[in-house]
């Protein structure tokens, strides 16, 4: 088999206000499994989108063997044999069609025929699946498949037509251990039987060391290093490169008095098995971090605590009293607040005004016998807009017209106005710029200083290190370790977050 090489030379990309990629040189050849690692926001997905033709505005050049190619459309990339399987598999599949139809979807769209040839479609799909050694009934509907099977259907779709470069964007993040094994078997099988290069993006460093031959580390939109993986390669070595030496962006921790136990959880399980046997406690005035990689079950844990996901076992106690929370409305009555991760979808009511959003969780305080006191509501809006530095022309502005950081502040304000005892923050700084980030940190510290408990879930370890007092590291829905923030390091968090059970040395 002839070896084909795909590479980028000085590729840069600029988004408004952010340089996402800077002079990236990256190269893969068929026959290898190449890992791409980096912290969140390092530019991995952006680079892969360039190769997939989904980022047409790049500067610099992409070459195939020695020839410069233009990857300005996804079609151009597909024609060159570059296929990408994104992490959100459900976005790319049509649940109500059969496995075979999904496998052959690109082909059906592109083959230019007007009449379906069902026999050939099912035959070819079965052949592809057999080539990959995947056992799935081609007549089954995709909605009835497991997540791992869906991923395999997408991989099968990618190799229906000529495919020399297969990009897998965090394929293992949502998979269980056995499903991951099955995926690895498939990847190895592909490597052995096809003339193909697999680019493998993952946060789980252990996996990378196991199945990849080379790895490239990215940091802040730049390629830091490309190296062979040898038996001597260690997790620590890769993590060090990912983080670099410098991570300034430090936030001076504001000290709050830590009091007695406020909230405790014992053997909590739920969220369809994504949270299992979790025990921890939060004290008054304490900020407790939940660390872990994307997909570790942090959001699921937060939402289970808030009653948004079903709890299947364990006890939750507030101030020594056991809570029975079945839905978010009861959580609010138990004085628990959640600032969810997907703020546009879950955190704010985008079609309502700033002042209504701010008062939404505590509207009783602004009503006289159920009737709204609009003047009071707007006053509360003004108060929190000023307190939190929300940038809005007026409190009557609809929230959908605010920027991301300001929407997040509104979501925080909603719960500050509600006056709860325990505040759960799920990735509060996601998509928020540095200035707003600092404001949100101040708010969270102020909440703790008032004697409330705070749970702060984030995959940004540097944030956890700067704002929390204590933290628990989550992996696959289980707590791997409890760490004192003052005595731990980013390396130690990473050590447990990638699934190591052994004591960190």
């Amino acid at each position: 088999m002839e070896k084909i090489t795909l590479g980028t030379r000085n590729v840069s990309i600029e988004f408004p206000g952010v340089k996402a990629l800077t002079d990236v040189n990256f190269e893969v050849s068929t026959g290898e499994i190449h890992a791409l690692v980096g912290a969140n926001g390092a530019g991995k997905s952006t680079l892969m989108k360039v190769l997939a033709g989904a980022n047409p505005d790049y500067t610099g050049e992409v070459y195939l063997n020695d020839q410069v190619v233009e990857l300005r459309t996804t079609l151009a990339a597909k024609k060159l044999g570059i296929q990408i399987v994104y992490q959100e598999v459900d976005m790319a599949l049509i649940p109500t069609l059969s496995v075979a139809e999904n496998v052959m979807l690109n082909d059906t769209v592109m083959n230019g025929r007007y009449i379906m040839n069902w026999r050939s479609l099912y035959k070819r799909a079965a052949e592809v699946l057999q080539r990959l050694n995947i056992q799935v009934d081609t007549h089954k509907l995709v909605q009835d498949l497991s997540l791992a099977q869906k991923q395999m259907v997408l991989i099968a779709r990618a190799i229906v037509n000529e495919c020399n470069f297969l990009i897998l964007d965090e394929p293992t993040a949502p998979l269980s251990d056995t499903e991951t094994e099955e995926l690895f078997r498939l990847v190895k099988h592909l490597q052995a039987t096809e003339n193909i290069a697999i680019i493998f993006i993952s946060h789980r460093i252990n996996e990378i060391i196991r199945i990849c031959e080379r790895y490239t580390v990215m940091r802040n939109g730049m390629v830091v290093d490309t190296t062979e993986i040898t038996p001597q390669t260690t997790t620590k070595e890769i993590v060090d490169k990912m983080l670099g030496r410098s991570f300034e962006e430090n936030f001076p921790k504001e000290i709050a008095d830590i009091g007695e136990d406020l909230f405790s959880v014992e053997h909590l399980s739920g969220a369809d098995g994504k949270v299992s046997d979790v025990s921890f406690h939060v004290r008054k005035g304490e900020i407790v971090g939940i660390a872990g990689l994307v997909g570790a079950g942090k959001s699921e844990l937060c939402k289970t605590l808030f009653g948004a996901y079903e709890k299947t076992g364990g006890t939750v106690k507030m101030g020594g009293r056991e809570l029975k929370i079945k839905n978010p409305s009861q959580a609010l009555k138990s004085r628990i607040a959640l600032v969810p991760e997907e703020r546009r979808k879950e955190g704010v009511l985008v079609n309502e005004t700033v002042s209504f959003n701010v008062t939404a969780a505590s509207l009783d305080d602004y009503c006289t016998a159920s009737f709204l006191n609009k003047r009071k509501i707007d006053q509360a809006g003004e108060e929190y807009v000023e307190k939190l530095g929300v940038k809005t022309p007026s409190v009557r502005q609809l929230v959908k017209n605010l920027s991301g950081g300001n929407q997040q502040k509104v979501a925080v304000a909603k719960w500050m106005a509600a006056d709860c005892d325990l505040y759960i923050f799920d990735e509060p700084t996601k998509g928020v710029d540095v200035g707003a980030k600092q404001d949100i940190f101040h708010l969270i510290c102020e909440i703790a200083r008032r004697g409330n408990g705070v749970i702060y879930a984030s995959c940004e370890n540097s944030e956890l290190l700067s704002i929390t007092d204590r933290m628990y590291v989550l992996f696959d829905g289980q707590i791997m370790a409890e760490l004192e923030t003052a005595k731990t390091s980013e390396d130690e968090i990473m050590h447990y977050a990638v699934g190591n059970r052994a004591q960190y040395a």
């Binding site: 206000g17 997905s45 978010p328 955190g347 309502e352 502005q397 017209n401 300001n406 909603k414 998509g431």
Partner: protein, 338 residues
């Protein structure tokens, strides 16, 4: 996910642009109303623009408005009820049968009709909230259930004066009272309509319950995570809808001096049209009571004016349809692709 999120531009606050185009689209329904009133007045003068004719218009719009209000309250939390008007027919059967067959006082008949409607609405809520069937599908099935059950109760024939009960008994009343007929005539018909609009307006705009219902309609998940008990509020909206449905059924039977078989069924589409036109009024982008009234008024005015201009009545549905289509164009064609 390792996606680089573009930094939000804090300096550029994308405030709502108050452009002329947006103004015209937001107020298209009201402008159309004004233009048509002026046009009809110019063409037909006093035959259109007279107190009597204005009352005609109000009378014509009143029942549609009441059903429209019922639909508004259902649609505010992003619900939908295809069976509203078949249920209203049942309310009408109950109302008139109580009055004629059992000779009960008017106010008792009204209350029983409302109560029966609320009880029957439990079935709707059961299918939607407990069985989790999408609103559209559940109420589509119920439409037939209501039709069958209602006609079973009245024995397949209309409930009107001089008719025996299905069991063959003589009715207690042989004549409709003045009070019964007054409900379906001005001024009471119009007063009841205005009261319904006002109550729905205050409930939706000025109480916290109303705001919670709108919050659900905007984003159910966000509303739930704000601690709003979304099921309880969907149920509340359903119960209020049931009351308005019953009132609609009562108005129809009083106005028709009887409860004819399926007397209310045809109001559904008109009521929905009024709600859809009303959604666009003032750029509200959600079903609202005042908008619904304006929607019903617009349709009634056009029908009335065109009839005076001697346009054959059988063409009028096309006009109604065109108005609805234009309102929907104003609401959707201007939206950006997601």
């Amino acid at each position: 996910m390792t996606q680089v999120t573009p930094k939000p531009n804090m300096a550029a606050m994308p405030g709502r642009k108050k452009s002329v185009g947006k103004f015209l689209i937001d107020w298209a329904a009201v402008l159309t109303l004004a233009v048509s009133v002026i046009a009809f007045t110019l063409i037909k003068g006093n035959r259109f623009m007279s107190t009597n004719n204005m009352i005609n218009i109000l009378r014509a719009m009143s029942i549609t408005t009441v059903f429209g209000i019922a639909a508004t309250v259902t649609m505010a939390p992003d619900g939908f009820d295809m069976s509203a008007c078949t249920l209203a027919s049942c309310s009408a059967y109950v109302f008139v049968s109580m009055y004629l067959w059992h000779g009960l006082p008017l106010i008792v008949c009204v209350l029983i009709s409302i109560l029966v409607t609320i009880i029957m609405y439990q079935l709707t809520m059961f299918l939607i909230l407990v069985c989790k069937i999408p609103d559209m599908l559940a109420t589509c099935a119920l439409m037939f259930v209501h039709q069958g059950l209602g006609q079973w109760y009245i024995g397949g024939g209309a409930v009107s004066t001089g008719m025996r009960t299905p069991a063959g008994a003589d009715p207690k009343r042989i004549k409709l009272g003045e009070d019964f007929l007054a409900i379906g005539k001005e001024p009471w018909l119009i007063i009841i309509m205005l009261a319904c609009v006002l109550i729905a307006y205050i409930f939706l705009e000025h109480t916290k319950h109303g705001r919670f219902i709108y919050a659900m309609g905007g984003n159910r998940q966000a509303a739930r995570l704000s601690g709003i008990n979304v099921k309880a509020y969907r149920y509340l909206a359903g119960m209020i809808t049931a009351v308005f449905i019953a009132i609609g059924g009562i108005l129809v039977s009083s106005r028709g001096s009887s409860a004819q078989v399926m007397c209310c069924d045809n109001y559904l589409m008109q009521a929905l049209a009024a709600v859809f036109v009303g959604r666009t009024v003032g750029g509200a982008e959600k079903p609202n009571a005042l908008g619904t009234m304006i929607g019903a008024l617009l349709v009634a005015t056009l029908e009335n004016g065109l009839t005076i201009c001697a346009v054959p009545f059988y063409i009028l549905p096309a006009v109604k349809g065109a108005v609805l289509a234009l309102a929907l164009i104003a609401a959707y064609a201007t939206k950006k692709e997601q």
